[in-house]
Amino acid sequence: MKPEPGKCGYCGACVTVCPHARLELNNQVHLKKGCVNCGTCIIVCPLGALKLEE
């Protein structure tokens, strides 16, 4: 998973659905180690600020 710089609206919707608790809201969304690229957070992000890592 890759947060797209400048797009995050700091709402925290992604954090609450991350099945592995790998996302943290810290002024902007921050990805901790261990993301499995499952894409769950993409579904709820109102601004489309997250995309899958290729």
Binding site: G9, G12, A13, T16, N26, I43, V44
Partner: protein, 382 residues
């Protein structure tokens, strides 16, 4: 640093919890990660008179933008039904001012408030929450507490750190985007709701008038098609209005989390899922639960028992007040999730001629007899 009660989060859940804890003579600290209470707004700002009854406050002019008589429901095919009074009647708040007012009341009751202070971790001793580790302007500080109240919103870091299950499925989160706009036409006495898979799949769009042509124009969706923002752009594209604010957020539609307390910790508001699953409305429910949280926390401190078995009282009390309402609302949401656009059109046609506040069983049954698809889903509620 040591306080009897530490509240994490300074929006309505935090301010109301801290206010009612302070009113009951315990020393309280509320920490807020932003540098100002009340921003950014993540809310359509509508609420009912019940909120003010719960808070024992009068609805003051300074934070009431507008009063509304009822709601206009717009079906996908354009059929419009008007519902007045009851739950549809209420106020549109100016949340920035309302939130600040609540924090002010809390501070006047004795709460200390720290801004730009983010809770990073919990202090846990022998399985009991005993405080928070926070960061303030780059400095780590340990704040010991007898009770911690987690009012930290949808991301609810604190509840998860305490071992409570906060994980939501994506379909349990309504992804929302809203503009506050200037130059919005229409009668300011009515809320407007728009339904349909084209407009807002898995949710609805709204226009909440704030008076003088200003309104919150937003929507919530549950869909993998496009982002909430993309649907908002489409919804507002034909309006001759100008945005002055963009709000985004996720609203929990799951109903309350399984357990809202543990040793030394209470969870309130969005963090606890205390939001009506059908409508996504959470101001009144949060006000009710947060008041109880503040009062129970204070009582726990005074009786020197902040164990889970004492704090369970919080959950018993909030369930007694609004447990049934939230359960029912979740049932309605499950039914609403199954309705297609044709069902919504039929329902709007029915509501156009039948006021739901004075509905007769005979007219409802006659209507359902003509719409077997709707009956199939609605019978779960009967």
């Amino acid at each position: 640093m040591k306080y009897q009660v530490v509240v994490v989060g300074g929006r309505i859940g935090g301010s109301i919890s801290s206010l009612f804890a302070s009113k009951n003579d315990v020393n309280v600290l509320m920490i807020e990660k932003q540098q100002e209470i009340g921003v950014p707004v993540q809310c359509a700002e509508g609420t009912t008179a019940g909120t003010f009854h719960t808070l024992e406050m009068k609805p003051l002019k300074k934070y009431i933008a507008n009063k509304v008589k009822g709601a206009e429901l717009h079906a996908p095919n354009g059929t419009t039904a008007k519902i007045s009074g009851g739950m549809a009647e209420g106020y549109i708040l100016e949340r920035k001012i309302f939130d600040k007012h609540l924090a002010q009341e809390s501070a006047q009751a004795g709460t200390d408030i720290m801004l730009k202070t983010t809770a990073k971790d919990l202090i846990i001793n022998k399985g009991k929450v005993c405080g928070v580790v926070a960061e303030h302007l780059g400095q780590r500080i340990k704040i010991k507490a007898d009770v911690v109240i987690a009012a930290d919103g949808i991301e609810s870091n604190i509840a998860r750190l305490a071992g409570l299950n906060t994980l939501k499925k994506p379909y349990e989160i309504c992804s929302c985007a809203q503009y506050e706009m200037v130059g919005v036409d229409g009668d300011p006495n009515w809320l407007k709701f728009y339904f349909g898979t084209e407009m807002a799949p898995g949710g609805y769009a709204w226009i909440f008038p704030k008076g003088q042509g200003v309104a919150n124009v937003g929507l919530g969706i549950r869909s993998t098609e496009k982002t909430a923002y993309a649907y908002l752009e489409k919804f507002t594209s034909k309006m001759d209005a100008t945005p002055i604010e963009l709000n985004i957020g996720g609203v929990p539609l799951s109903g309350p989390m399984e357990k809202t307390f543990t040793d030394g910790l209470l969870v309130v508001g969005d963090a606890a899922g205390q939001v009506e699953p059908l409508t996504g409305g959470g101001i009144h429910t949060t006000a009710t639960c947060s008041r109880i949280a503040g009062e129970v926390a204070a009582q726990a401190v005074q009786e020197n028992d902040t164990s889970a078995s004492f704090l369970k009282k919080y959950e018993d009390l909030w369930k007694e007040k609004i447990g049934d309402t939230l359960d029912m609302s979740l049932k309605y949401r499950h039914v609403a999730d199954k309705l297609n656009d044709d069902d919504m059109n039929s329902l709007a046609e029915f509501l156009k001629y039948n006021n739901p506040n004075s509905l007769s069983k005979i007219s409802a049954l006659k209507f359902l007899g003509k719409h077997p698809h709707l009956l199939k889903h609605l019978k779960e509620l009967l």
